[in-house]
């Protein structure tokens, strides 16, 4: 039976949530599923990876996989693949997933497909192009394993009822020196407060139209007035350095599917749209009536966001107290 593997980025907090989504999909493709978790936190994450359908988890807690970029993980995966010959390896679309998969495709000569939204078969991947106006089915050829980077939240994660504790297979961490030349000297973890973007029923995204970092406090106030709301941003706002990367909604960044998405000063570049088009209702506030986001919104409001947003916060407070 052709096996399907899931590359699961791990940290002290456990496995990246995308890994559970990919394992849920992998189960539907094969009875022979495994997860690969490399770096500090891997052993701790193996039990949860088992619950989502990995009967076997390849792990190493060695810090070599966290301190030298993607090359050590690509080395370890190359050896594992040569030994076990999986047919398909799924990666979450994160910087780490891209970097490891990108190096692996060079080492293996296997084809690597990016931005998949579905994996209908072992040799098929589906993606959306032109801002989600067309669905494209792609046949993956060449040598196994095929490598596919899947967009977050393409599948709903479901635990496997009655899954036994997984078999944990230790991965050697004897990475060659050439793969350790990149050195992480310092990490600055941002802290996330309040409702998580992915969990919030309302997502308020700020874009270039906000003009600077200060205007984001206006969005925080609106979110607080609504309650179950979180603030995100377009890549333009993140690239400008106004808010940290963890705010970014889009192709590279987070995917949100809230009840209501409210874009404030967001133009609606394709980069951003693929991360929010799954919202049930889309509202856009923009000065420019030609902004693409206004055209795809259920409700578009044209005008000065610096007047509209505070007025909206007031209106919501008034209605809630009334």
């Amino acid at each position: 039976m052709a096996s399907v593997w899931v590359f699961a980025p791990v940290s002290a907090e456990g496995a990246h949530p995308s890994a559970f989504e990919l394992l849920t999909k992998a189960r539907s493709l094969s009875d022979d599923v495994a997860a690969v978790a490399l770096g500090p936190g891997a052993s701790g994450a193996s039990e949860s990876l088992g619950r989502f359908g990995a009967p076997r988890v390849f792990v190493s807690d060695d810090s070599v996989f966290a301190d030298h970029g993607a090359a050590p993980a690509a080395e370890a995966l190359t050896s594992l693949v040569a030994e076990h010959l999986p047919a398909l390896v799924l990666f979450p679309t994160t910087y780490e997933g891209r970097d490891v998969a990108g190096r692996l495709q060079a080492k293996l000569g296997s084809t690597l497909m990016s931005n998949a939204t579905d994996v209908p078969a072992l040799d098929r991947a589906r993606t959306e192009i032109f801002g989600g106006t067309k669905v494209v089915d792609v046949e993956l050829g060449g040598a196994e394993p095929r490598l596919v980077l899947v967009r977050p939240r393409s599948f709903a994660a479901e635990e496997l009822a009655g899954a036994p504790a997984p078999e944990v297979v230790q991965v050697p961490a004897d990475v060659p020196d050439e793969a350790k030349t990149v050195r992480v000297l310092e990490r600055n973890e941002g802290s996330e407060s309040g409702v998580k973007l992915e969990d919030a029923r309302v997502v308020i995204a700020g874009g270039r139209g906000l003009g600077g970092p200060d205007a984001f406090s206006m969005l925080d106030e609106l979110a607080a007035a609504i309650g179950d709301a979180a603030v995100g941003a377009s890549r333009a706002a993140v690239d400008a350095g106004w808010v940290p990367y963890r705010y970014q909604i889009g192709q590279t960044g987070r995917t949100v599917k809230p009840e209501v998405y409210l874009g404030v000063g967001v133009s609606g570049a394709l980069q951003h749209v693929v991360g929010m088009k799954g919202a049930k209702r889309i509202v856009a506030i923009n000065r420019d009536a030609e902004a693409p986001l206004l055209k795809m919104a259920d409700l578009g409001v044209t005008g000065d966001l610096f007047q509209i947003v505070p007025a909206l916060t007031e209106e919501i407070r008034r209605r809630r107290s009334g």
């Binding site: 970029g69 970097d99 990108g102 495709q105 050195r183 709301a229 409001v301 044209t302 209106e315």
Partner: protein
């Protein structure tokens, strides 16, 4: 401090972001006759390369793979200040996948020693986001992705990069490849002088055979078998600011989120 002598910047010709892209009967993007330009995301890497070499000497080469029209993108890189350019163009490369593209770019970059290779994090048309790292692996050099700032130090480069949860300070020896995020620095506009000077700068155009890459190595292993249209969403309503506030509040009430 180490001296950077030669920086390679990978640039891509992409369809005009405001245009309407179309697929041909072969399910490949129609590139002929379509308006295109230098990928705006590539200008940040170019700017970074130009500032590095302006500060400490050295020169920048722009490398691209694409249709003949891609000349326009490469010319802009020259006009911004690249000293020379190399475009690999060949009908065989139409529809090349990420691995084939990376093999071509690696072969092109490998023709002359470089200290640093720079690319954008992802292209603005395909968003594949893996080609630069694959090039680095093919060339057996380190890579640092999603870099926001970079400085040259005694033993290589020190970079500030984005991560899922924050930032990291990462060091790497030279030669290395980095991908840079947009927005970290403001790219320059080509001056009239730069545009004029670009016309006399070395600009090599190579076929796959010129490059010495076997066509079998660039045959795509990804084949589009079906394209399905998603029916466009019916357009919503657009209102002015006066009416807008109450209408948004109404919508939030209907969605039962307030």
């Amino acid at each position: 401090m180490l001296r950077i002598v030669h920086v390679v910047v990978f640039v891509k010709f992409v369809p005009e972001p405001q245009g309407t892209p179309t697929l041909g009967p072969d399910h490949l993007l129609v590139r002929e006759g379509a308006e295109g330009a230098l990928d705006p995301g590539d200008e940040y890497g170019l700017e970074l390369a130009l500032r590095l070499t302006e500060e400490q000497g050295g020169e920048v080469t722009a490398i691209s793979m694409g249709p003949e029209d891609a000349t326009a993108a490469v010319r802009r890189a020259l006009a911004m200040g690249a000293a020379g350019a190399l475009l690999v163009t060949d009908p065989v490369l139409r529809g090349a996948d990420a691995l084939g593209t990376a093999r071509v770019l690696a072969a092109a970059a490998g023709r002359r020693p470089f200290d640093l290779a720079i690319a954008g994090v992802e292209s603005t048309d395909g968003y594949t986001g893996t080609v630069p790292v694959t090039v680095a692996e093919l060339l057996h050099i380190p890579s640092v992705t999603a870099v926001r700032s970079l400085e040259v130090s005694d033993d290589g480069i020190r970079t500030e990069r984005q991560t899922e949860t924050g930032t990291e300070t990462v060091a790497a020896p030279l030669p290395s490849l980095v991908t840079v995020t947009a927005g970290a620095i403001e790219p320059r506009y080509p001056s009239l002088k730069g545009i004029m000077a670009a016309k006399s700068k070395p600009f090599e155009t190579l076929s796959l055979a010129d490059l010495g890459v076997d066509t079998a190595l660039v045959a795509p292993e990804q084949r589009v078998i079906e394209v399905t249209e998603i029916p466009p969403k019916t357009a919503g309503e657009i209102v002015g600011a006066d009416e807008g506030v109450a209408r948004i509040a109404d919508l939030l009430s209907e969605a039962k989120v307030i």
